[in-house]
């Protein structure tokens, strides 16, 4: 890809990139395009695509259903990825993707996010391709799947029908529905997971409409490998070569898109152990409050719960010694001091980057917590998602949510807008708006503390609170719109 200054004439290639494009409208991004692109397009194309990806990220973390996501993706794409010159639409698609590769190849977390969003985007766009185009793409991807012969289909028809009906697809025996592909089960983990396919002797039988999943998996793994290579190239040559031109743009794109991840609290020791019970009641979001209460009650939490709560406390400002004291106080009541030191202290220190490979772990964001899977004996996860309705109502009323707000919250929960439910809870309890929305438990905490402190400091702070919330609105909105990392 050649980046040129705007005053230089740019030749646009009418056909697509140097990468073989099996479909006329959906590029596979297999190799960097032989295109020239203007410097300002370099940045603006990337920002447009980022809006699409961020929109997808938002949609996913709200637990939107597949057909809702489909609509969302179409809208986002139409709105952001247009170009006044229709022959340039495909180029914009390709260029923006490759620019974002540069931006998002640089750390493990960035890569993971980019991979998830681009894969989701690809999956939805693939679904909208014609059958012809889809077949062409499958061929391009060398899919190790064979069409199931008629004979085999006849022998398995009943079982295949059962699977289809078990997932709500009615297998009418028309010719198109009778097309199945046979593929080793490990190629389609998403379908295996939900028991969405019939599996026999190591092979999964995939319906035509499920082929999307297959293709998406391959897309994802190719992109994953490409990102690693891109990172290497960036670190070893591109960053330096382009230090006066592209590098500042790439780095700006990235850092302005990193929302606060709360891995470096402003100062440790912000909350003291004596106040922690009080502070838990007033400023913890429900997920952390639940874990905290269960810990006080049972003097124990399972591993996932310890991680979720422990990292949250770190983000809140509890330093490693206070943290050890806190956990020790609770756990020693159940397992004894000695066992605590032997079995649990190490992990706490590990979370602070004091042991092992010394990674400083970051507190979990709402998206991550919502996607977790609490099982028997677990108390982690997002209560708005994982609690049954009765239990959730009880927990919220214990927190002090009044009955009217409760109905609003439950409405959001039913709609699977878990983060909005939490936001409403926040607003009800603090009698103040939270326009930026809750995206991170530590954000809930710091917003809450800020509000409470403002109320305490002075009575004329009503004005201050509103102006600060206005500033927060701008920063918050900006962050929400352009944050690349949840």
């Amino acid at each position: 890809m050649q980046v040129v200054r705007s005053h230089q004439s740019h030749r646009s290639f009418s056909s697509s990139s140097g990468s073989v494009s099996a479909s006329p409208t959906l590029p596979l991004y297999r190799s960097a395009p032989e295109l020239e692109v203007r410097l300002e397009d370099f940045e603006s194309f990337a920002i447009d695509r980022l809006r699409v990806l961020k929109g997808i990220s938002d949609g996913l973390s709200r637990g939107k259903k597949p057909d809702e996501m489909e609509k969302l993706v179409n809208e986002l794409w139409k709105t952001n990825m247009r170009h006044q010159d229709s022959s340039q639409v495909l180029n914009k698609d390709i260029i923006s993707h490759f620019v974002l590769r540069l931006v998002y190849c640089r750390t493990e977390e960035l890569r993971k996010w980019f991979l998830s969003m681009e894969s989701a985007l690809f999956r939805h766009r693939f679904r909208n391709q014609t059958a012809e185009a889809q077949r062409a793409i499958m061929e391009e991807f060398d899919l190790p799947c064979k069409a199931v012969s008629n004979a085999e289909f006849e022998s398995l028809k009943e079982k295949l029908g059962q699977v289809a009906r078990s997932i709500g697809h009615n297998l009418s025996l028309s010719t198109t529905d009778a097309i199945y592909y046979k593929v080793p089960f490990e190629e389609v983990p998403e379908l295996v997971t939900g028991r969405k396919v019939f599996i026999n002797q190591g092979y999964a039988y995939v319906a035509m409409n499920q082929v999307v999943s297959l293709v998406a998996t391959i897309f994802r793994s190719l992109l994953s490998k490409a990102l690693i290579l891109t990172n290497r190239k960036w670190a070893t040559s591109i960053r330096e070569q382009e230090q006066h031109r592209l590098t500042p743009i790439v780095e700006a794109l990235c850092s302005s898109y990193l929302g606060p991840d709360f891995s470096q609290p402003k100062e440790y020791g912000e909350i003291s152990l004596k106040d922690i019970d009080q502070v838990a009641k007033s400023s913890f979001p429900l997920c952390m409050r639940h874990l905290f209460e269960k810990l006080r009650e049972d003097h124990h939490l399972k591993h996932a719960g310890r991680m979720q709560l422990g990292l949250f406390l770190k983000g809140v400002g509890l330093n490693v010694d206070d943290s050890l004291a806190f956990w020790r106080e609770e756990f020693s009541k159940k397992v004894g001091l000695e066992k605590f030191e032997k079995e649990y202290a190490y992990n706490i220190r590990h979370n602070y980057g004091k042991e092992g490979k010394k990674t400083d772990y970051t507190p979990y964001s709402c998206q991550k917590i919502i996607l977790s899977t609490p099982g028997v004996g677990d108390h982690h996860g997002c209560p708005y998602r994982h609690f049954g309705e009765e239990n959730l109502r009880a927990a919220l009323s214990r927190m002090g949510v009044n009955s009217r707000a409760m109905e609003d919250v439950m409405g959001k929960v039913r709609n699977r807008d878990y983060q909005l439910a939490c936001t409403l809870t926040f607003e009800a309890l603090h009698a103040a708006p939270c326009d930026a929305g809750i995206n991170h438990p530590n954000q809930y905490f710091s917003d809450s503390q800020r509000l409470l402190k403002a109320k305490k400091d002075s009575s004329t702070n009503v004005v201050d609170a509103s102006t600060s919330s206005m500033h927060r609105l701008d920063a918050g909105n900006l962050l929400r719109n352009i944050r690349g990392n949840s």
Binding site: S166, I199, K357, G388
Partner: protein, 453 residues
């Protein structure tokens, strides 16, 4: 069969070893765990050579295609006395492995993954994440304490013959699926020593699965979802059940629920217990009707029939003829809730998860982690699994009678080791050799083709 580089039994006799407790002494002691007993166990009974042969997967140096670094890239962890935990132990030969175990006498041996390089040298390389797992058996861990909400005979660490059938069900359901659905053949089931079972799937394909693929398989097996924060833990949607669930139900779950667990756990005999089941019925009027019926009749009208069975029939009658499918489906949901396997997902999902090695001795029960034959797992009895003390007593009795197989052949451990070999190790090694041969020949052919004009 030669045991490559292994200790000869006779060498051991010359070394000063801890004395076997006398007959009277053992009777006086409860089944208490004593590290000196372990020393004898490791020196005379533990099947070192078998462990080596398994872990080598055919890379024993006898074939030109053998990978000499293979074993050395496998992690073993020891739990030593005083709760000292040592990771990243590696060995390059059968002798090293055996000597280390005999020397260190670990309370527990865990087996980890095979890494891309020898983990002992991990610090020699710069950078993070240099050490990555490349192979690892597909493993499952089923623990009876995860069923505490559906068993009343015991709780926590205890197991008895009334609740053990839950493990039998788990083995049958998962084993059948692993073989018929996923096409795996080299599967080892092991008693965990106290209250559960472990499963090791050792096919080459299984060993190479990624974390995501493992998570998919574990999730395929997952039906029970939830904890005390929601009460509807099994939700079977869809007009019909997926063939895997349907088969499990008709071949295993229904029978075990209706003929064993219903009665042995008295699931419907008291109000507290039947309320938990009534709670799962989405139609309140049916639940009330049953509640009313059962509150009246404290004892079954016919003294011959078990009250649980009578009540279950009544429940089924009412639910199965309901016009709403969600109500009819409730019968299966109840059965699944009370019987379907509950796996520890985290154990299966991560390649770097450590799992206890077979033939370890459980420190709290003294029982040996012996293999379970899935073909007759209904006959497995956890209360008669050999204990360390029992084995030592048996050794004591047999005295110095020599046995060409090894000391273990004089004890109850013999059956366990023979089962391990015949049903698991030998078929596995045979396949490994065959695969090695064929890939080697393929490479030879390829290079011949390149060279030929």
């Amino acid at each position: 069969m030669t045991r490559q580089g292994a200790y000869k039994e006779s060498d051991d006799m010359l070394i000063d070893e801890p004395k076997l407790p006398q007959q009277g002494q053992i009777a006086a002691l409860p089944n208490e765990f004593n590290p000196s007993y372990l020393k004898i166990y490791y020196s005379k009974l533990f099947p070192h050579a078998d462990l080596y042969r398994w872990m080598s997967y055919g890379n024993d140096g006898k074939h030109p295609a053998c990978d000499s670094s293979y074993l050395g890239r496998r992690e073993f962890s020891y739990t030593l006395d005083n709760d000292i935990f040592v990771r990243y132990n590696t060995f390059n030969s059968a002798t090293e492995l055996e000597n280390s175990i005999k020397d260190k006498c670990p309370l527990k041996i865990d087996i980890g993954p095979i890494y891309n390089l020898n983990p002992a040298r991990r610090n020699a390389y710069a950078g993070d994440n240099v050490l990555t797992p490349v192979e690892r058996e597909l493993i499952f861990d089923i623990d009876m304490s995860d069923y505490d909400d559906v068993r009343y005979c015991c709780s926590g660490a205890d197991v008895c013959l009334n609740c053990w059938p839950l493990m039998t069900v788990a083995v049958k359901v998962i084993d059948t699926s692993l073989r018929d659905d996923f096409g795996f053949r080299h599967i080892l089931w092991v008693y965990s020593g106290r209250r559960g079972v472990h499963c090791w799937v050792c096919d080459r394909k299984a060993r190479r699965l990624t974390n995501e693929q493992r998570a998919a398989v574990a999730d395929y097996f997952r039906v029970y979802k939830g904890n005390e924060n929601n009460y509807k833990k099994v939700s079977l949607m869809g007009q019909v059940l997926h063939p895997f669930l349907a088969r499990s139900y008709t071949e295993v779950l229904k029978e075990y629920f209706e003929t064993k667990l219903l009665t042995s756990q008295n699931l419907l005999s008291s109000e507290e217990r039947y309320e938990k089941i009534l709670e799962m019925i989405p139609d309140q009027s049916i639940a009330s009707e049953l509640r009313g019926k059962w509150q009246e009749s404290r004892r079954s009208s016919s003294a011959k029939e078990d009250i649980n069975i009578v009540r279950w029939e009544q429940l089924k009658q009412l639910l199965q003829k309901h016009k709403a499918q969600v109500v009819r489906r409730c019968v299966e949901e109840i059965v699944f809730t009370y019987t379907f396997p509950r796996l520890d997902m985290e154990v299966s999902k991560h390649m770097n998860h450590l799992l206890k090695a077979p033939f370890c001795v459980h420190p709290k029960t003294g029982r040996v982690c012996v293999p379970i034959n899935p073909n007759n797992c209904e006959e497995f009895d956890p209360t008669t699994v050999p204990t360390l003390i029992q084995l030592l007593e048996e050794l004591n009795r047999e005295g110095l009678r020599s046995d060409v197989e090894g000391e273990w052949n004089k004890t109850s451990l013999a059956n366990a080791i023979k089962l391990f070999r015949s049903s698991f190790l030998q078929p596995l090694l045979k396949i490994c050799k065959e695969e090695m041969e064929s890939s080697y020949n393929a490479k030879l052919q390829q290079s011949k083709n390149l060279l030929s004009w």
